[in-house]
Amino acid sequence: MDSRIAASAPRRGGNRLPNSVLAMIIFVVAEIMFFAGLISAHTIARATVLGGVWPPVGQPRLPVAHTAFNTAILLLSGALLYLANRRARDSYAKALPFLAGAIATGVAFVLLQGVEWVALLREGLTMTSSAHGAFFYLIVGAHAVHAVVAIAVLTAIYFPMRNGSLEPSTFSAVQIFWYFVVLVWPIIYLRVYL
């Protein structure tokens, strides 16, 4: 083929969705169904509990106000990652402080949740104390595992971003995962804590 024709021809697949982003979207779709299943089971258990009292008598109440503060921290983390994405369009150097802020607030969320868990365990809420405890640790624990993995991945892309070697598609895929972790939490909070 003439090189001039090849150069002027539209680039095939130029607007293609990167494989990593598509894979992450499909993964997040599966994760949404996973959490929907857990929340659905919790809702059914809560509606069919004997006596209609939830949490069951003798079980500690969940710290609603403390967790509302944690929720705000996690939402702030999502907002900081969004700002990092906006700044990354200019340069990665401008995005770095926002990415660091998103990681720090994410870590703060996990640590504060850990403090909450320790207090609840001391009050007698365990996996075996009641269906309330079992569902609480299963759902909130599953979210915590996702949060820890997402923070590890955010930390893993920090250094390539600092070096300027980070692939934009990798950054996009990681963002999708973190936004999922951030946005599924208010639903969990509303269904499990309130």
């Binding site: 607007n15 779709v29 949404i32 169904m33 659905s40 809702t43 509606a47 069919t48």
Partner: protein
């Protein structure tokens, strides 16, 4: 040929879903108080509709992207 067979299968599935006894068969949904039945029904709707919405949402997003 293939199209008419597919239409027949679709019509049979749609017709079966209109048989009340089969469509509402659920061993636990309609026992207990109405609030419990409402919760069962609501969760059944959510868990049935959510995967369809997600798959069609993703398909629509990809279709719009490649328009």
């Amino acid at each position: 040929m293939l199209k008419s067979s597919a239409l027949r299968v679709l019509a049979a599935v749609a017709g079966t879903s209109l048989v009340p006894g089969a469509a509402w068969a659920c061993p636990g949904c309609m026992v207990g108080d109405p609030k419990t039945a409402g919760t069962y029904f609501g969760m059944t709707v959510v868990m049935s509709a959510l995967p369809i919405l997600l798959v069609f949402g993703l398909g629509y997003y990809l279709w719009r992207r490649y328009q």
